[in-house]
């Protein structure tokens, strides 16, 4: 009798648990593969996705010669990270993966991401390595014709992908998502451990 009365409660608790796991941003758990890559870090050393396990990881594809959208996106996340508690902040990192490896050498990327704080890391690689990754996450990038100074614009995905500490896909942030929604989703993934 007791057992029979408890079941609806258990079911309700389970349902509530599921509801809690819904993301306010875009859920990518079922549609994106786990984080895998073989790139080069800011010290010119090989960087593999396994090296970045253990923390909630945000991934953005951009380039350092981008004056507007890229620094604003990284700055937005720096400000969101500031809303986290110190303990939460220790469990989160953001990777800027360059789609402009010719200009984004490891040194350039290291200096650039360093400006946003210790949670930010820049990764580069050769074109094949970067293409393997952009294909994996079904994103595009393209180069415009260079100007007379040799400067060129790179069009690139504006999305930020979030993975849990095991590198499993969780959610995707686009510009219109509010900082509060991003913060809530970020906390949920950090809590997963």
């Amino acid at each position: 009798m007791m057992k029979r009365m408890l079941w609806p409660l258990v079911a309700a608790a389970l349902l509530a648990g599921c509801a809690d796991e819904e993301f306010r941003t875009t859920d990518i758990e079922e549609i994106m593969p786990p984080l895998e890559f073989a790139l080069t870090d800011g010290d010119g050393e090989p960087a593999r996705a396994e090296d970045y396990r253990g923390k909630t990881t945000l991934v953005y594809f951009g380039y350092t010669q981008c004056p507007d959208v890229c620094p604003l996106t990284l700055a937005r996340f720096a400000s969101i990270f500031n809303e986290l508690s110190e303990a939460e902040r220790d469990d989160v990192q953001m990777l800027l993966i360059s789609v402009d490896p010719e200009r984004d050498t490891p040194e350039v990327l290291k200096r650039y991401t360093g400006a946003f704080g210790p949670a930010f890391t820049g990764l580069t690689g050769d074109k094949e390595e970067i293409d393997a990754l952009t294909n994996r996450y079904r994103i595009a990038y393209s180069f415009e014709e260079p100007n007379e100074r040799g400067d060129y614009i790179v069009n690139h995905s504006s999305a930020v992908f979030a993975f849990n500490a095991e590198g499993q896909p969780r959610f995707l942030v686009r510009d219109p998502h509010s900082d509060q929604d991003v913060l809530a989703d970020l906390r949920q993934v950090i809590e997963e451990g």
């Binding site: 951009g62 350092t64 004056p67 959208v69 620094p71 604003l72 400000s79 200096r111 614009i153 069009n155």
Partner: protein, 148 residues
Amino acid sequence: MRKAFDYARRTALAGAFVLAGAAGAQASDLRVANARLSLLPGATPGAGYFDIVNEGASPITLTGAESEAFEAVEMHESSEHDGMAHMHGVDSIEIGPGETFSFAPRGHHLMFMGRLAPLAEGDEVEVTLDIDGEPLPVTFEVVSPVSL
């Protein structure tokens, strides 16, 4: 050197036009506010943001900008379509009488390329906007993108 000469010549020419009364809008009809230059360490380009108000009775056209602190300054616009961030050059912007036009994050911005001297947060940079061939000097404050 050539750049400095061009700048001096253009300034002199524009001055001559003002004296001759040939320039359309007067600089006194224009107000620029909130001029910030978002910059990161290293050789990466900066972004200039500001609001320009045309308080005059006739439209004005902004056709470019330059600064002695940078090799080149271009007007750009960022946009987003289908999840892709794009950027393209803008040749001119017309601002009607009584209108305000904003160069703002994720929209129109000045792109500052090839910095010629180190700049730090809090520094001031002189930028000359080109309005109908007339120079309009504006002081930009160097800020971190984190502050925007």
